[in-house]
Amino acid sequence: MIPDLILFFGLALVAVASAIGLLLSRSAVYAALNLILNFTAIAVFYLVLDAPFLALMQVTVYAGAIMVLFLFVIMLLGAEKLSTGPTLPYQRPLSILLAVILLLEAAYALFFRSSPGAPPAPALAGFGSPQAIGETLFSAYLLPFEVVSILLLAAMVGAIVLTKKPRRRG
């Protein structure tokens, strides 16, 4: 129990601190690096929660591919330094108030409407393994899997069309 608590609170501290660092960072590159740290901490949580396949997918797809794309665009646009123009005077207090309301509502829905549970039993052998994921994915969820391939194709074509130079008429 005690090592679990130390692991959880250490990782939770890293995750929350990097999220706050993302909010407060003055440079887009620092924000992206904070987000990578956050994704890695969440990947370790997936390992603790018996989802090793998803943990590695999180590291390769999210912390790897997606964040490299983000860093690439930041460098391409030269947008490392964020502009700090005048903000609306009520924007910051109002958004903090709304965030606190959201936090309280979500905490109420999660904790006070359901009875607190005991720690779950140890998982069955093979729970969350690539084999179990693959068997579920290609039997019960085969149609969504195929739809995702069309979605990725559409996203690829859309990204190419959006970044193409407009063709001159004439």
């Binding site: 959880f8 939770a12 995750a15 929350v16 999220a19 706050i20 993302l22 909010l23 887009a28 924000a31 992206a32 987000l35 994704f39 969440i42 949580f45 998803l54 997918m57 999180q58 797809v61 999210y62 591919a65 997606i66 794309l69 983000f70 665009v73 646009l77 947008a79 964020l82 123009g85 903000t87 924007q91 958004s95 965030a99 959201l102 936090l103 979500a106 905490a107 999660l110 904790f111 607190p116 549970g117 005991a118 720690p119 779950p120 140890p122 998982a123 729970f127 969350g128 994921i133 994915l137 019960a140 969820y141 969504p144 979605l151 990725l152 996203a155 990204a159 190419i160 959006l162 970044t163």
Partner: protein
Amino acid sequence: MLPIEYYTGLSVILFTLGALGVLIRRNALIIFMSIELMLNSANLAFVSFARSYEGMSGQIFVFFVIAVAAAEVAVGLALIVAIFHTKRNIDVDQINSMKG
């Protein structure tokens, strides 16, 4: 193994921080990163509930969320690049007209 409420509580906190980032930041890239943070906290809730109910469906949903997030990032970053090329700025306060 800790009770599952610890993990869902952390997911609530991370989701709120992501929503706060969307509200207070005005750089389109940072807003986009905050949306990724919110997607990730939802994924954490999915995985913890999958662990709690011993079902694989929650983990499959995370798989789909990651695929959709990859597609979303590709299109969204292409949009940001296109907006930057016409307006020379990605401050969401400045983007107030649809015409390029």
